[in-house]
Subunit: 392 residues, 2 copies
Amino acid sequence: MRKVAVIGVGHTVFSRASEKTSLELFTEAAMEAISESNLKPKDIQSLHMGNVYGDFEEGQTMIQAFAADSIGAFNIPVMRYENVCCSASVAARDAFMWVASGFYDIVLVGGVEKAGSMGTELATRTFAMGSDSRYEYPCGITFPAFFGLLTHLYSTKYGIPLAKLKEQMAITSVQSHHYGMFNPRAHFHKEITVEMALNSFTVCSPLQLYDCCPLSDGAAAVILTSEEVAKKLTSKPVYITGVGLASQGLLANQEEILPRIKAREISAKQAYDMAGVTPEDIDICELHDCFSIASLIDAEGLGFFEFGTSGEAWEKGEAAIGGKVAINPSGGLKAKGHPIGATGTAQVYEVVKQLRGEVEPERRVEGAKIGMTDTAGGDAGSVCNLILQRGW
Amino acid sequence: MRKVAVIGVGHTVFSRASEKTSLELFTEAAMEAISESNLKPKDIQSLHMGNVYGDFEEGQTMIQAFAADSIGAFNIPVMRYENVCCSASVAARDAFMWVASGFYDIVLVGGVEKAGSMGTELATRTFAMGSDSRYEYPCGITFPAFFGLLTHLYSTKYGIPLAKLKEQMAITSVQSHHYGMFNPRAHFHKEITVEMALNSFTVCSPLQLYDCCPLSDGAAAVILTSEEVAKKLTSKPVYITGVGLASQGLLANQEEILPRIKAREISAKQAYDMAGVTPEDIDICELHDCFSIASLIDAEGLGFFEFGTSGEAWEKGEAAIGGKVAINPSGGLKAKGHPIGATGTAQVYEVVKQLRGEVEPERRVEGAKIGMTDTAGGDAGSVCNLILQRGW
């Protein structure tokens, strides 16, 4: 298997309701990635694209064919992946294999979603189709409901009083909103406080407004190449050194392990083992903080903190820049935003920019050498992880 | 790159409206493929699944996670692919790479769709989202409309009077319905005649009822393994020796080439070149006859007959068993049925069974050594081809 590099990245502004179509957003991100790679559209050999609800959002399936056409990469192989919120990560993992295997040298991976345009109420109902359609969402298991239940489980299992836990959860949101302030492509540019979070309205008990990420419009794209091509085109290649993907089924079958997410623990182990690194080696991680409780659960599942101690870690700044591992210096899903089909490649964008040192000083992880992405789809029906390392 | 074998195949009965859910249909096909491979669910290392409109049909995205759980392949990597009607072929091509690269030894690929349950009118409108959502289907370009237009173009371009062309098109349907009679898993078991076809009601001028394939419920699945594993488990491995995938954009940009489909010609060339074979070498081909005119266009695009001569070929029996190439001895989409997200793997199922000599004598292609599949998504936004060869 050959080494695979990320040599260019692109990312639109994430926002509530963009005036641009999905194709326009994707094309914008893709052209930025292509241009940053010193390539032309005709150099692209294959397009791998994450998109979840284009059919509901714009009445469009097969967007990948029109996307290739739109960027001027005519007649290339195109594929669309749907693993709900980890669709673009899955696309990246898959594209990685097409390059690692030696079949292609230069591929484009990206994702797009008009999740913000759908509006919160409709999106919440529509997106719930990512949980089980027989036994889960018909019983009320939307995603806010699922993460609300996890909050209660977490509180009980680790003996942390709910009031205390909610304070810790609020701290994760405060940190994300702070970093988002300095990310020009983030959905929100607004500082919040723990008090504001704890006084905000209830979305789905015990989750309040600032426990929930927004639904966003946006796109992100990255160019993957072989090592040989990367060395010709950039002095700062970032290598994908580990990939992981795992699944789990009905929540009812996860009774013994929840609030831990088995799919994440398996996926992360795959990625660590492949890269030959441990959680201690990760300098920066963009993880799937769709809800504040997810930040705590994710960080533990990835091995950064002991189970039940993530809240304390955030309190002590161990999850902040300068701490044990810099978590979500982009602002995360909470502040940067969550265009679900694009989130995986948006995470890759951030990690690559951080490893290159190309982000605003206020949110830069100085000297970062190894980064990780973590993306969860549905009620953790699948989790995908990537490990990226500086190549210079 | 390692050799990749198909060692087991599964296929539900295709029908109008199944009482089974998508998960039940997929599980049935998958368990048949697993069992035929002398494997157990826990041997499966990865699941690659085609499904197009599960969200509209059953309110379900991420079906792949619940499918893995349902067959007892717990926590494995799962991926869903959507390239409209060639989704399962794309899944198979992708799974091929995960085995060819050496990453996995045993993977499950399949597809499922409840297209029949949706009903023709609703499905026609819903499936039109596979064409361009800006300029095509809002102007009336549903799939029957697109293939109706192609019929006119074909008639004009090749100077075949429409009445004559329609007779030739009817012959393709008569042949498919004849073979479907002997396929116990086919949607239709009904002989038709040219007269019946030409007297049937108009669906979308000039297409009549028997020019159109049905929309079906059903699933199909296949097991891919490395050569080493295949040799241990079966005496009749079928190798995937060539794969192709290409795209094209807006119909308006295809003006100079239509009714020829550029994506098909590029994809087929990729597959032929990789396998080191030519159209003359293909003994059996399952091609994408969603409409009778598509049979003619596909067969020419794949290189079996000169452009504009497919109709004559069908008339002379050159596309029948015993002719130049046996086309759609399963009954094709026309008679076997078309559960869109499953069709690609259903085609692989048929080719594998034919190469093994395991089909009913009335529709058996005796001595077939090399087979091909051809699947088109949307208004040919992407086309995927696979070439399969006997390994014994």
